[in-house]
Protein backbone atom coordinates (compact mmCIF):
# COMPACT_ATOMS: atom_id res chain seq x y z
CA UNK A 1 0.00 0.00 0.00
CA UNK A 2 3.05 2.28 -0.03
CA UNK A 3 2.11 2.69 -3.65
CA UNK A 4 -0.97 4.70 -2.61
CA UNK A 5 0.99 6.69 -0.08
CA UNK A 6 3.23 7.98 -2.86
CA UNK A 7 0.21 9.26 -4.77
CA UNK A 8 -0.28 12.27 -2.53
CA UNK A 9 3.13 13.90 -2.99
CA UNK A 10 2.92 13.04 -6.68
CA UNK A 11 -0.41 14.88 -6.89
CA UNK A 12 1.10 17.81 -5.02
CA UNK A 13 3.91 18.08 -7.54
CA UNK A 14 1.48 17.66 -10.44
CA UNK A 15 -0.52 20.63 -9.11
CA UNK A 16 2.65 22.73 -9.38
CA UNK A 17 3.15 21.90 -13.07
CA UNK A 18 1.11 24.91 -14.27
CA UNK A 19 3.28 27.22 -12.15
CA UNK A 20 6.37 25.52 -13.54
CA UNK A 21 5.08 26.00 -17.06
CA UNK A 22 4.47 29.68 -16.38
CA UNK A 23 7.96 30.16 -14.96
CA UNK A 24 9.45 28.23 -17.87
CA UNK A 25 7.56 30.44 -20.33
CA UNK A 26 8.85 33.50 -18.50
CA UNK A 27 12.41 32.16 -18.54
CA UNK A 28 12.29 31.40 -22.28
CA UNK A 29 10.55 34.70 -23.05
CA UNK A 30 7.37 32.94 -24.19
CA UNK A 31 4.72 34.99 -22.41
CA UNK A 32 3.30 36.42 -25.67
CA UNK A 33 3.52 40.06 -26.74
CA UNK A 34 1.37 41.06 -23.76
CA UNK A 35 2.91 39.16 -20.80
CA UNK A 36 0.75 40.70 -18.07
CA UNK A 37 -2.44 39.73 -19.85
CA UNK A 38 -1.02 36.26 -20.50
CA UNK A 39 -0.14 35.71 -16.82
CA UNK A 40 -3.53 37.05 -15.72
CA UNK A 41 -5.44 34.70 -18.02
CA UNK A 42 -3.18 31.74 -17.24
CA UNK A 43 -3.51 32.00 -13.45
CA UNK A 44 -7.25 32.72 -13.74
CA UNK A 45 -7.76 29.63 -15.87
CA UNK A 46 -5.94 27.39 -13.38
CA UNK A 47 -7.87 28.85 -10.46
CA UNK A 48 -11.10 27.75 -12.15
CA UNK A 49 -9.71 24.35 -13.07
CA UNK A 50 -8.62 23.62 -9.49
CA UNK A 51 -11.91 24.94 -8.12
CA UNK A 52 -13.83 22.55 -10.36
CA UNK A 53 -11.42 19.73 -9.50
CA UNK A 54 -11.97 20.24 -5.77
CA UNK A 55 -15.73 20.41 -6.31
CA UNK A 56 -15.65 17.13 -8.22
CA UNK A 57 -14.08 15.17 -5.34
CA UNK A 58 -17.32 14.52 -3.45
CA UNK A 59 -19.40 13.44 -6.49
CA UNK A 60 -16.58 11.21 -7.75
CA UNK A 61 -16.15 9.69 -4.31
CA UNK A 62 -19.85 8.92 -3.95
CA UNK A 63 -20.22 7.53 -7.44
CA UNK A 64 -17.05 5.43 -7.42
CA UNK A 65 -17.13 4.52 -3.77
CA UNK A 66 -13.41 5.31 -3.63
CA UNK A 67 -13.30 7.09 -0.29
CA UNK A 68 -9.55 7.75 -0.45
CA UNK A 69 -10.37 10.63 -2.77
CA UNK A 70 -11.46 12.80 0.15
CA UNK A 71 -7.80 13.11 1.15
CA UNK A 72 -7.18 15.16 -1.98
CA UNK A 73 -10.00 17.64 -1.56
CA UNK A 74 -8.16 20.05 0.72
CA UNK A 75 -5.05 19.99 -1.46
CA UNK A 76 -7.03 20.78 -4.60
CA UNK A 77 -8.95 23.54 -2.83
CA UNK A 78 -5.77 25.10 -1.50
CA UNK A 79 -4.19 24.97 -4.95
CA UNK A 80 -7.26 26.79 -6.29
CA UNK A 81 -6.59 29.43 -3.64
CA UNK A 82 -2.88 29.44 -4.50
CA UNK A 83 -3.55 30.20 -8.17
CA UNK A 84 -6.22 32.73 -7.16
CA UNK A 85 -3.64 34.55 -5.03
CA UNK A 86 -1.26 34.61 -8.01
CA UNK A 87 -4.12 35.83 -10.22
CA UNK A 88 -5.06 38.63 -7.83
CA UNK A 89 -1.41 39.56 -7.23
CA UNK A 90 -0.89 39.84 -10.99
CA UNK A 91 -3.88 42.17 -11.20
CA UNK A 92 -2.80 44.26 -8.22
CA UNK A 93 0.94 44.44 -8.81
CA UNK A 94 1.67 43.89 -12.49
CA UNK A 95 -1.52 45.28 -14.01
CA UNK A 96 -2.27 48.21 -11.71
CA UNK A 97 1.00 48.53 -9.79
CA UNK A 98 -0.65 49.19 -6.39
CA UNK A 99 -2.85 51.95 -7.80
CA UNK A 100 -5.42 51.36 -5.04
CA UNK A 101 -7.86 54.14 -6.05
CA UNK A 102 -8.01 52.61 -9.55
CA UNK A 103 -8.40 49.09 -8.11
CA UNK A 104 -11.21 50.13 -5.74
CA UNK A 105 -12.99 51.89 -8.60
CA UNK A 106 -12.56 48.82 -10.81
CA UNK A 107 -13.96 46.49 -8.13
CA UNK A 108 -16.96 48.74 -7.47
CA UNK A 109 -17.75 49.70 -11.05
CA UNK A 110 -16.93 46.70 -13.25
CA UNK A 111 -19.30 43.79 -12.67
CA UNK A 112 -16.78 41.21 -13.89
CA UNK A 113 -14.15 42.52 -11.45
CA UNK A 114 -16.75 42.65 -8.67
CA UNK A 115 -17.62 38.99 -9.29
CA UNK A 116 -13.98 37.90 -9.38
CA UNK A 117 -13.07 39.89 -6.28
CA UNK A 118 -16.07 38.49 -4.39
CA UNK A 119 -15.01 34.96 -5.24
CA UNK A 120 -11.45 35.66 -4.14
CA UNK A 121 -12.48 37.24 -0.81
CA UNK A 122 -14.82 34.30 -0.09
CA UNK A 123 -11.91 31.90 -0.59
CA UNK A 124 -9.82 33.52 2.15
CA UNK A 125 -11.81 32.21 5.18
CA UNK A 126 -12.02 28.80 3.53
CA UNK A 127 -8.25 28.61 3.12
CA UNK A 128 -7.72 29.90 6.66
CA UNK A 129 -9.98 27.25 8.19
CA UNK A 130 -8.56 24.36 6.20
CA UNK A 131 -6.25 23.07 8.96
CA UNK A 132 -7.11 19.97 10.98
CA UNK A 133 -7.25 22.09 14.14
CA UNK A 134 -9.79 24.47 12.63
CA UNK A 135 -11.90 21.60 11.31
CA UNK A 136 -12.00 20.14 14.83
CA UNK A 137 -12.70 23.45 16.52
CA UNK A 138 -15.49 24.53 14.13
CA UNK A 139 -17.20 21.15 14.13
CA UNK A 140 -20.51 21.28 12.32
CA UNK A 141 -20.09 24.94 11.45
CA UNK A 142 -17.01 24.06 9.40
CA UNK A 143 -19.17 22.24 6.88
CA UNK A 144 -21.63 25.13 6.73
CA UNK A 145 -18.79 27.62 6.20
CA UNK A 146 -17.20 25.55 3.47
CA UNK A 147 -20.43 25.45 1.47
CA UNK A 148 -19.31 28.94 0.41
CA UNK A 149 -17.14 27.17 -2.13
CA UNK A 150 -20.29 26.78 -4.26
CA UNK A 151 -20.64 30.57 -4.33
CA UNK A 152 -16.93 30.88 -5.14
CA UNK A 153 -17.37 28.58 -8.14
CA UNK A 154 -20.39 30.51 -9.41
CA UNK A 155 -18.61 33.86 -8.91
CA UNK A 156 -15.55 32.56 -10.75
CA UNK A 157 -17.49 31.36 -13.80
CA UNK A 158 -19.53 34.60 -13.95
CA UNK A 159 -16.29 36.59 -13.67
CA UNK A 160 -14.95 34.82 -16.76
CA UNK A 161 -18.24 34.97 -18.68
CA UNK A 162 -18.62 38.72 -18.21
CA UNK A 163 -15.08 39.41 -19.29
CA UNK A 164 -14.95 37.79 -22.73
CA UNK A 165 -15.66 39.94 -25.76
CA UNK A 166 -17.80 37.58 -27.83
CA UNK A 167 -16.49 34.03 -27.81
CA UNK A 168 -18.27 32.57 -24.78
CA UNK A 169 -17.37 28.94 -25.49
CA UNK A 170 -14.72 28.58 -22.76
CA UNK A 171 -16.67 30.20 -19.90
CA UNK A 172 -19.73 28.19 -20.96
CA UNK A 173 -17.68 24.98 -20.76
CA UNK A 174 -16.59 25.84 -17.22
CA UNK A 175 -20.18 26.78 -16.40
CA UNK A 176 -21.48 23.44 -17.72
CA UNK A 177 -19.05 21.46 -15.57
CA UNK A 178 -19.93 23.58 -12.54
CA UNK A 179 -23.66 23.12 -13.18
CA UNK A 180 -23.12 19.36 -13.36
CA UNK A 181 -21.18 19.30 -10.08
CA UNK A 182 -23.63 21.50 -8.19
CA UNK A 183 -26.62 19.81 -9.85
CA UNK A 184 -25.39 16.45 -8.61
CA UNK A 185 -25.42 17.77 -5.04
CA UNK A 186 -28.95 19.10 -5.40
CA UNK A 187 -30.20 15.81 -6.77
CA UNK A 188 -28.52 13.85 -3.98
CA UNK A 189 -29.94 16.23 -1.38
CA UNK A 190 -33.52 16.05 -2.71
CA UNK A 191 -33.50 12.45 -3.83
CA UNK A 192 -34.39 10.85 -0.43
CA UNK A 193 -37.19 13.39 0.01
CA UNK A 194 -38.44 12.72 -3.50
CA UNK A 195 -38.24 9.00 -3.03
CA UNK A 196 -40.04 9.35 0.28
CA UNK A 197 -42.84 11.40 -1.25
CA UNK A 198 -43.21 8.99 -4.15
CA UNK A 199 -43.38 6.06 -1.76
CA UNK A 200 -45.93 7.90 0.36
CA UNK A 201 -48.22 8.76 -2.54
CA UNK A 202 -48.08 5.25 -3.97
CA UNK A 203 -48.84 3.71 -0.58
CA UNK A 204 -51.80 6.04 -0.07
CA UNK A 205 -53.11 5.03 -3.49
CA UNK A 206 -52.90 1.38 -2.63
CA UNK A 207 -54.52 2.08 0.72
CA UNK A 208 -57.38 3.81 -1.06
CA UNK A 209 -57.66 0.94 -3.50
CA UNK A 210 -57.83 -1.44 -0.59
CA UNK A 211 -60.59 0.47 1.14
CA UNK A 212 -62.72 0.59 -1.99
Amino acid sequence: MSYWRALKPVTFIACLIPLGQLLYNAWTDNLSANPIEFITHFTGDWTLIFLLASLSVTPLRKISGWNELIKYRRMLGLFAFFYAVLHFATYMVLDHFFDFPAIVKDVMKRPYVTAGFTGFVLMIPLAMTSTAGMIRRLGKRWQQLHRFVYAVGIAGVIHFYWLVKADIRRPVQYGAVLALLLGYRLVVKWMPALRGRLAQSSSSISARQLSE
Partner: protein
Protein backbone atom coordinates in the same frame (compact mmCIF):
# COMPACT_ATOMS: atom_id res chain seq x y z
CA UNK B 1 -8.69 33.41 -37.81
CA UNK B 2 -9.84 32.53 -34.30
CA UNK B 3 -10.40 34.11 -30.92
CA UNK B 4 -7.31 32.96 -29.00
CA UNK B 5 -4.30 35.26 -29.26
CA UNK B 6 -2.25 32.52 -30.88
CA UNK B 7 -4.94 31.38 -33.35
CA UNK B 8 -4.28 33.89 -36.15
CA UNK B 9 -0.62 32.96 -36.51
CA UNK B 10 -1.38 29.23 -36.31
CA UNK B 11 -4.24 29.42 -38.84
CA UNK B 12 -2.42 31.76 -41.20
CA UNK B 13 -1.29 28.84 -43.36
CA UNK B 14 -4.86 28.24 -44.56
CA UNK B 15 -5.32 31.63 -46.18
CA UNK B 16 -3.94 31.85 -49.70
CA UNK B 17 -3.81 35.49 -50.79
CA UNK B 18 -3.25 34.96 -54.52
CA UNK B 19 -5.28 35.14 -56.69
CA UNK B 20 -7.21 37.89 -54.88
CA UNK B 21 -9.60 40.48 -56.17
CA UNK B 22 -11.19 43.49 -54.54
CA UNK B 23 -14.50 44.67 -55.92
CA UNK B 24 -15.06 48.43 -55.82
CA UNK B 25 -18.76 48.99 -56.39
CA UNK B 26 -21.99 50.73 -55.48
CA UNK B 27 -22.52 54.48 -55.81
CA UNK B 28 -19.49 55.09 -58.05
CA UNK B 29 -18.95 56.02 -61.69
CA UNK B 30 -15.96 53.69 -62.09
CA UNK B 31 -16.96 50.40 -60.51
CA UNK B 32 -14.21 47.87 -61.01
CA UNK B 33 -12.90 44.56 -59.75
CA UNK B 34 -9.23 45.04 -59.07
CA UNK B 35 -6.65 42.33 -59.03
CA UNK B 36 -4.71 42.82 -55.81
CA UNK B 37 -1.42 43.25 -57.69
CA UNK B 38 -2.93 46.08 -59.73
CA UNK B 39 -4.62 47.64 -56.72
CA UNK B 40 -1.36 48.10 -54.83
CA UNK B 41 -0.02 50.05 -57.81
CA UNK B 42 -2.69 52.76 -57.91
CA UNK B 43 -0.64 54.96 -55.60
CA UNK B 44 2.94 55.02 -54.33
CA UNK B 45 3.39 52.90 -51.20
CA UNK B 46 4.46 54.82 -48.11
CA UNK B 47 5.41 53.90 -44.59
CA UNK B 48 3.05 55.23 -41.89
CA UNK B 49 4.02 54.86 -38.24
CA UNK B 50 0.77 54.93 -36.28
CA UNK B 51 -0.36 54.29 -32.76
CA UNK B 52 -2.91 51.46 -32.62
CA UNK B 53 -5.32 51.31 -29.67
CA UNK B 54 -7.31 48.10 -29.17
CA UNK B 55 -10.76 48.34 -27.59
CA UNK B 56 -9.46 45.83 -25.02
CA UNK B 57 -7.05 48.45 -23.66
CA UNK B 58 -3.70 47.45 -25.13
CA UNK B 59 -1.87 49.53 -27.69
CA UNK B 60 1.10 49.39 -29.98
CA UNK B 61 3.12 51.57 -32.32
CA UNK B 62 3.10 50.01 -35.78
CA UNK B 63 4.97 50.88 -38.99
CA UNK B 64 2.43 50.15 -41.72
CA UNK B 65 3.11 50.14 -45.44
CA UNK B 66 0.26 51.24 -47.68
CA UNK B 67 -1.48 54.06 -49.48
CA UNK B 68 -4.27 56.47 -48.54
CA UNK B 69 -7.78 55.08 -49.00
CA UNK B 70 -8.59 58.46 -50.58
CA UNK B 71 -6.52 57.53 -53.67
CA UNK B 72 -8.86 54.63 -54.36
CA UNK B 73 -11.96 56.70 -53.60
CA UNK B 74 -10.86 59.35 -56.14
CA UNK B 75 -10.27 56.68 -58.80
CA UNK B 76 -13.73 55.23 -58.20
CA UNK B 77 -15.41 58.64 -58.59
CA UNK B 78 -18.23 58.36 -56.06
CA UNK B 79 -21.64 59.72 -57.06
CA UNK B 80 -23.50 62.30 -54.99
CA UNK B 81 -25.34 59.48 -53.25
CA UNK B 82 -22.19 57.97 -51.77
CA UNK B 83 -22.25 58.97 -48.10
CA UNK B 84 -20.56 55.93 -46.54
CA UNK B 85 -18.23 53.10 -47.50
CA UNK B 86 -19.01 49.52 -46.59
CA UNK B 87 -16.08 47.08 -46.34
CA UNK B 88 -16.43 43.29 -46.46
CA UNK B 89 -13.90 40.58 -45.53
CA UNK B 90 -13.49 37.34 -47.48
CA UNK B 91 -16.09 34.71 -46.53
CA UNK B 92 -14.44 31.29 -46.74
CA UNK B 93 -14.34 29.07 -43.64
CA UNK B 94 -11.74 26.84 -45.31
CA UNK B 95 -9.27 29.70 -45.63
CA UNK B 96 -10.45 31.62 -42.55
CA UNK B 97 -11.10 28.73 -40.13
CA UNK B 98 -12.43 31.01 -37.37
CA UNK B 99 -15.54 31.49 -39.53
CA UNK B 100 -16.57 27.91 -38.70
CA UNK B 101 -17.76 29.24 -35.34
CA UNK B 102 -20.52 31.83 -35.21
CA UNK B 103 -18.70 34.09 -32.76
CA UNK B 104 -19.74 36.97 -35.02
CA UNK B 105 -22.12 37.13 -37.96
CA UNK B 106 -19.56 36.36 -40.72
CA UNK B 107 -18.22 37.76 -42.93
CA UNK B 108 -16.72 40.62 -40.97
CA UNK B 109 -18.05 43.97 -42.16
CA UNK B 110 -17.02 47.52 -41.34
CA UNK B 111 -17.85 51.03 -42.44
CA UNK B 112 -16.66 54.62 -42.59
CA UNK B 113 -18.34 57.91 -43.26
CA UNK B 114 -17.13 59.42 -46.54
CA UNK B 115 -15.18 62.24 -44.84
CA UNK B 116 -13.47 59.70 -42.57
CA UNK B 117 -12.59 57.61 -45.61
CA UNK B 118 -11.14 60.67 -47.38
CA UNK B 119 -9.04 61.72 -44.38
CA UNK B 120 -5.31 61.58 -45.19
CA UNK B 121 -4.60 59.43 -42.11
CA UNK B 122 -6.93 56.66 -43.31
CA UNK B 123 -4.80 54.00 -44.94
CA UNK B 124 -5.17 50.80 -46.90
CA UNK B 125 -2.26 48.72 -45.67
CA UNK B 126 -0.47 45.98 -47.59
CA UNK B 127 2.69 45.76 -45.48
CA UNK B 128 4.17 45.88 -42.01
CA UNK B 129 7.72 46.59 -40.79
CA UNK B 130 8.80 47.04 -44.41
CA UNK B 131 7.60 43.56 -45.37
CA UNK B 132 4.55 42.18 -47.15
CA UNK B 133 1.58 42.12 -44.77
CA UNK B 134 1.51 38.77 -42.88
CA UNK B 135 -1.72 36.80 -43.18
CA UNK B 136 -2.47 37.09 -39.45
CA UNK B 137 -2.35 40.86 -39.75
CA UNK B 138 -4.92 41.04 -42.53
CA UNK B 139 -3.24 40.09 -45.81
CA UNK B 140 -3.39 40.92 -48.57
CA UNK B 141 -5.03 44.26 -47.81
CA UNK B 142 -6.56 45.83 -44.70
CA UNK B 143 -7.85 49.12 -43.40
CA UNK B 144 -6.02 51.23 -40.81
CA UNK B 145 -7.84 54.11 -39.10
CA UNK B 146 -5.48 55.19 -36.31
CA UNK B 147 -7.89 57.38 -34.31
CA UNK B 148 -10.43 54.57 -33.98
CA UNK B 149 -10.32 51.34 -31.99
CA UNK B 150 -8.38 48.59 -33.73
CA UNK B 151 -11.41 46.51 -34.72
CA UNK B 152 -12.40 49.22 -37.25
CA UNK B 153 -9.36 48.10 -39.25
CA UNK B 154 -11.08 45.36 -41.25
CA UNK B 155 -8.73 42.72 -42.66
CA UNK B 156 -8.49 40.65 -45.86
CA UNK B 157 -10.90 42.93 -47.74
CA UNK B 158 -12.70 41.65 -50.85
CA UNK B 159 -15.38 44.29 -51.28
CA UNK B 160 -15.48 48.08 -50.96
CA UNK B 161 -19.00 49.29 -51.57
CA UNK B 162 -20.07 52.94 -51.69
CA UNK B 163 -23.49 53.38 -50.10
CA UNK B 164 -25.98 56.06 -49.12
CA UNK B 165 -27.00 54.75 -45.67
CA UNK B 166 -24.77 54.03 -42.70
CA UNK B 167 -23.70 50.40 -43.22
CA UNK B 168 -23.87 47.66 -40.56
CA UNK B 169 -20.62 46.84 -38.72
CA UNK B 170 -19.83 43.45 -37.19
CA UNK B 171 -19.15 44.37 -33.56
CA UNK B 172 -22.11 46.75 -33.53
CA UNK B 173 -24.38 43.93 -34.73
CA UNK B 174 -22.93 41.64 -32.05
CA UNK B 175 -23.23 44.06 -29.10
CA UNK B 176 -24.74 47.45 -30.07
CA UNK B 177 -24.58 48.85 -26.53
CA UNK B 178 -20.84 48.10 -26.37
CA UNK B 179 -19.54 48.99 -29.84
CA UNK B 180 -20.83 51.93 -31.85
CA UNK B 181 -20.46 52.70 -35.56
CA UNK B 182 -17.89 55.44 -34.91
CA UNK B 183 -15.76 53.71 -32.25
CA UNK B 184 -13.39 56.65 -31.97
CA UNK B 185 -10.79 56.19 -29.24
CA UNK B 186 -12.26 58.11 -26.31
CA UNK B 187 -10.94 57.84 -22.73
CA UNK B 188 -14.10 59.49 -21.43
CA UNK B 189 -16.53 56.93 -22.81
CA UNK B 190 -15.88 53.63 -21.06
CA UNK B 191 -16.72 50.29 -22.53
CA UNK B 192 -19.77 49.20 -20.47
CA UNK B 193 -17.68 46.43 -18.93
CA UNK B 194 -14.22 48.01 -18.60
CA UNK B 195 -12.47 51.37 -18.43
CA UNK B 196 -10.98 53.05 -21.50
CA UNK B 197 -9.08 55.67 -19.46
CA UNK B 198 -5.73 53.88 -19.64
CA UNK B 199 -3.98 51.39 -21.86
CA UNK B 200 -0.97 49.11 -21.76
CA UNK B 201 1.38 49.74 -24.63
CA UNK B 202 3.06 46.53 -25.74
CA UNK B 203 6.61 46.58 -24.44
CA UNK B 204 5.89 48.92 -21.54
CA UNK B 205 5.24 47.94 -17.92
CA UNK B 206 3.16 50.85 -16.66
CA UNK B 207 -0.25 51.69 -18.03
CA UNK B 208 -0.40 55.01 -19.85
CA UNK B 209 -3.29 57.43 -20.19
CA UNK B 210 -5.39 56.96 -23.31
CA UNK B 211 -5.59 60.11 -25.43
CA UNK B 212 -8.70 61.48 -27.13
CA UNK B 213 -8.83 60.23 -30.74
CA UNK B 214 -5.75 58.18 -29.81
CA UNK B 215 -3.72 61.40 -29.88
CA UNK B 216 -4.81 62.38 -33.41
CA UNK B 217 -7.31 65.02 -32.22
CA UNK B 218 -5.50 67.85 -33.96
CA UNK B 219 -6.00 66.09 -37.29
CA UNK B 220 -9.48 64.61 -36.90
CA UNK B 221 -11.47 66.44 -34.19
CA UNK B 222 -13.00 68.70 -36.87
CA UNK B 223 -14.76 65.71 -38.44
CA UNK B 224 -16.90 65.38 -35.33
CA UNK B 225 -17.50 69.04 -34.45
CA UNK B 226 -20.88 69.46 -32.78
CA UNK B 227 -21.44 65.72 -32.38
CA UNK B 228 -22.18 64.26 -28.95
CA UNK B 229 -19.45 61.64 -28.80
CA UNK B 230 -21.06 60.00 -25.76
CA UNK B 231 -24.09 59.28 -27.91
CA UNK B 232 -22.19 58.49 -31.11
CA UNK B 233 -19.58 56.23 -29.49
Amino acid sequence: MGTDKTDPAENAKYLTTRPWTVSVEGEVKKAKTYDIDDLIKIAPLEERIYRMRCVEAWSMVIPWVGFPLSSLVKLAEPTGNAKFIHFVTLQDPKRLPGQKYAVLDWPYVEGLRMDEAMHPLTTLSVGLYGEVLPVQNGAPIRLVVPWKYGFKGIKSIVKIRFVEKQPPTSWNISAPQEYGFYSNVNPEVDHPRWSQATERRIGEFFRRKTLMFNGYGEQVADLYRGMDLKKYY
